[in-house]
């Protein structure tokens, strides 16, 4: 076991993990932050997307020990205490999910997309969200939700 420190959603955690534990399993099983989902566990679906030092990454293909000392933000940490993040509200407004399983990953990915500022058009938003699959087929709603937040400048 290796002792590591993770700052997750602005709380400092010190945990002991085996070297082969993924960041995803550390978040879910060690820290009991189960908002981040395990979909394929092979980097193909994006359900496990979290922000690491403000960049979106796949927590399933990351070892927890590799992120010793990093700042992680999960879906539990993106909004304030009593209010929704603009993207969360927009996802509700646009029916941007059905079963909801991909939603935490979609929203974390979209938070990062808007911060990166590389996507200017709807086509570019679609392209830069392609790492998050939605098996229910809510993709059009997802892109609508992101475009609304982007175009109204609700979050950058």
């Amino acid at each position: 076991m290796i002792g590591i420190s993770l700052n997750v959603n602005q709380h400092q955690y010190h945990i002991q993990v085996s070297p082969w534990v993924s960041l995803l399993d550390a978040l879910r099983d060690h820290l009991k932050l189960t908002g981040t989902k395990k979909g394929c566990d092979h980097g193909q679906c994006g359900a496990c997307t979290v922000l690491c030092d403000d960049r979106r990454i796949l927590s399933c293909l990351t070892l927890a020990v590799m992120k010793n000392g990093a700042n992680i933000t999960t879906i539990e940490g993106i909004s304030g205490e009593n209010e929704l993040h603009p993207l969360q509200q927009s996802f509700i407004d646009h029916d941007a999910f059905q079963c909801g399983y991909c939603t935490p990953g979609q929203i974390c990915s979209a938070v990062s997309l808007l911060k990166e500022g590389k996507a200017k058009t709807r086509e570019e938003v679609k392209e830069l969200m392609s790492g998050n699959l939605c098996r229910c087929g809510a993709n059009m709603g997802i892109i609508d939700a992101i475009m609304e937040v982007k175009e109204r400048g609700l979050y950058e």
Partner: protein, 339 residues
Amino acid sequence: MNNFDYIRASDIDDALASLNTHDNGSFIAGGTNLIDLWKYNLLHPDLLIDINHLPGHHAIEEIEEGGVRLSAFLTNADTAYHPLIEERYPLLSKAILAGASAQIRNMATNGGNLLQRTRCYYFYDPDAPCNKRNPGSGCSALNGYNRIHAILGASENCIAVFPSDMCVALAALDAVVNVTGINGERNIRFEDFHRLPGDTPELDNNLKRGEIITSIDLPAKGFAKNYSYLKLRDRHSYAFALVSVATGMELDGDIIKEARIALGGVAHRPWRLKEAESFLQGKRADEHSFAAAADMMLEGAKGFKYNSFKIELAKKAIVRNGLMALDPHSQLPGAQPSA
């Protein structure tokens, strides 16, 4: 999946020395392919040496003779969006952004991109014979479902393709790979880095055990005015190429002064044919010239049951991408064909 030890290397020497402390140690950078291979039980490291925190190894800098050096430890995203790369090597930027997803590009490193393994389905299936995974066991793809497989340079032992997009552009740009090992440093021309399968398909490239890629050099010529990367695949985005093409040209009016064409998704390494590029010199940059070059590049191509379509697709892609390179800004996001 097996258990393993983990250490964070403090510098290159520490990383190289640590490799010898275990029988089956491996370096880990982005880990986007390595962790997956381990989960599929294809890799069994007993030690992972984290090389993400080596001091002085995260830059993109100009080098002598007008070229640019990319750190091997920099992420694909940081490379693709770097102002020097966007401005001087937009072909490389485009190719990188055509690969994987935003999340993976934030993790995967330049060195790791060169070392990623094939995505042949049979390679990932431990129950299927595969000469690349288990030399001498046979090739399941040869008479199996081989839609994504090679049409050029394959052998009867292996028809897998190398899946990188970035490397197709690096091949077109004549990049040089700088490596360090216990016995010192060496430079490998990009065309000599990856191998054809031949009788030893278990070897993807000519990097030796105990060597580490430290950087990649791009020569001065970036073809920033006339370039295009076209990627054709089974879904619109986030899929490996069936066929991809990197084209860079230097033009004098509508006459080609110099052309580079590299293909991805068709062979065990990025595919170039110098004869086709020389043929284009002095020719008009039009459909007719590109079609003749395409015929040359695909001469001797051999399809299998499910991938013969790739031969015609590659020819058309070369022509299409040549025309797109005349107007790089016409291209839609994600290395799609121009509207």
